[in-house]
Amino acid sequence: MIKTSYISKTVQELKPSGIRKFFDLAANMEGVISLGVGEPDFVTSWSVREAAINSLEIGHTSYTANAGMLELREEIAHYMKSRFHVSYDPEEEIIVTVGASQGIDIALRTILNPGEEIIVVEPCFVAYAPIVTMAGGVPVTVQALPENDFKIKAEQIEELITPKTKALFICSPNNPTGTQLGKSDLEAIAEVVMKHDLLVISDEIYAELVYDEGYTSFAAIDGMLERTILLNGFSKAFAMTGWRLGFVCAPKEISQAMLKVHQYAIMCAPTMAQYAALEALQHGMSDVEDMRSSYRRRRNYIVKSFNEIGLDCHKPGGAFYAFPSIKKTGLSSQEFAERLLLEEKVAVVPGDVFGESGEGHIRCSYASSMEQLQEAIKRISRFMERFN
C-alpha cells in the first residue's frame, strides 16, 4: 500500500482533467462520432514524414543544441518575421520545445516566485492553471463572457491586478471557444499590461488557423515585444501533434533564463521531429493553406447547423472548435455531454472542463470529415428535439 504522503501536496490537490473522464466514457463505445478531439484530422504531410524518415536513415540520432538545431531556429525566426511581423534572434531568443506544452512549463517555471499570481483568461486550455500551480504560482482566473463572444475586456483584467500579479496568460484563437482577439482588443489589453508592468504569456498555437481576418500576434503590438513570451508550435497548423514539437520566443534575458530550465529538464527536443519541422516550415505552407480552407468550410457548416437546431453559437474566428450554448436544454454541460454520448453516440467535451465560465456550453471540434460532421449534426438535431 503506497502512502499518499509520498505524493506532494501540490500534486495531491491538482484536479484530474475533466477531459479524461469523457475519454474513459467514450473509449470503449462502438460507433461513436467524436467531436471531442483537440487535434487536426489530417495526417502530417507525407513530405514532412519523409524528411523525418530520411533523417533517421542518414543517422541523425544524437542530441541537438539545447535550444534546438540552429538551422531550425533560423527558419522559425524567418517564419515569425514573415508571417507575424515579429523579429527574434534565432541564436538567443528562440527555444525549440517539446510541444507548446513544454513551452508553457518552462515559461512559468522561469518567471514565477512562490505565491506570485498569473491571470489566466478562461475558458481556456485545460493545462494552464495546473501548470501555474505546479510552478509554485497562483492562477487567478478571469472569465471571458459569452455575451462578448468570449472576448476578454481589458477592464476585467485590470480589476484583478494585485501587487503579486506577474503575468497575463492569454490564448487567441482560443481553445475551447475559437475566439480570436483582433488588433484593437489586444491593444486595449496591452495598455493595461504596460501600465502595471506585467508580462504576457501569449499562446499562439492556433495563429495559422484563422478564417476571417488576418492574425495579429500579441508581440507585434507596440511596446509588447519586450514583455511577451510567445508560445507556438507545429501541432495544430502542420497537423503534427504526435511529434511533440513547439517553440517559445521571448526577449533575450527571458529566453536565456528559460533555456536554463529547459536544458536541465529535457536537454533538447527530439532530433527527428526537428528535421520534420524544418521541412514543414520550408515546404509545408501550401498544405497549411489547404487545411485552413478545409477547416473554414467545416466551421461555416457546423456553426450554421448548430444555430439552426437551436444550439446558439457565435461564429469563432479561428482554431477548430465551436462552443455552442446548451442552456436552452436546462441541462448542465456535463449532463448534456453525457446524455448525448449515451443516447446518440456523439462525443463532445463539456464546457466546464475549461473553467467555470465554460459551463452551459460544449466544445465541439470540427476537425472531422464532412461526412462525420453531417452525421453528427443529424444525431445532435435528433437529441435536441427531446427538449422542445
Binding site: 482533467s17 477531459i19 469523457f22 475519454f23 467514450a26 473509449a27 461513436v32 467524436s34 471531442g36 478531439v37 483537440g38 487535434e39 484530422d41 495526417v43 486550455f125 485545460v126 493545462a127 481553445n175 480552407s293 468550410r297 467545416r298 461555416n300 457548416y301 450554421k304 447547423s305 462525443a347 467535451v349 472531422s368 464532412m370 453531417q374
Partner: protein, 166 residues
Amino acid sequence: MHLNDQELELLRIIETNSRIETADLAKMTDLSEEDIQATLQKLEDMRIIVRYATLINWAKVDEYHGVTAMIDVKVTPKRGVGFDEVAQRIYRFKEVESVYLMSGAYDLSVIIEGRSMNEVAQFVSDKLSTLDSVISTTTHFILKKYKHDGTIFESTEKDKRIVVSP
C-alpha cells in the same frame, strides 16, 4: 476564364465530393441555396464542371475483367490543323478514355479501356496504327492502380486519434 472566389470555393469542395447536398454547400460557403444552384448551373454551362464522376475501384469487383492500356503514339502533324485533327479522330472511339498531347519522345498519350488484352490489342492494330498520320504506337498495359486522379485506392486510413483529447 476568370472565376470569383465563391465559384472557386465551390469547385474545390465538389471536386472531391460531388454528392454534398445544396443545403450543406450553402452552409459551408455563406451562399444561399439559390446562389449555389445558379452557380453550379453556370459552371456546367461554361463546361468548367464537365461531369460529376464516381471513382470506382473495379479491381475489387470479381465480375470485372477490364484492362487499361496507355499508348504512346507518334504522329505526323498536318498542315493547318497540327495535331488536333488526328487527336479528334482518335478520341471519338468509345474505347478511348483520354487523349493528351505530350512534349518529349512521342506526341499523343492515349488511354484505352478494353474488356480484355485482346480487345485492346485489336483496337491498336486495327484502328489506331492504321490511321494515316500515325507513325508508331507503343502499348503499356496497366498492371495495378495504386492512385488515380488524386485518390489512393488501397488506403485504409482510419481516424487514429483518441476519442476525446484536450
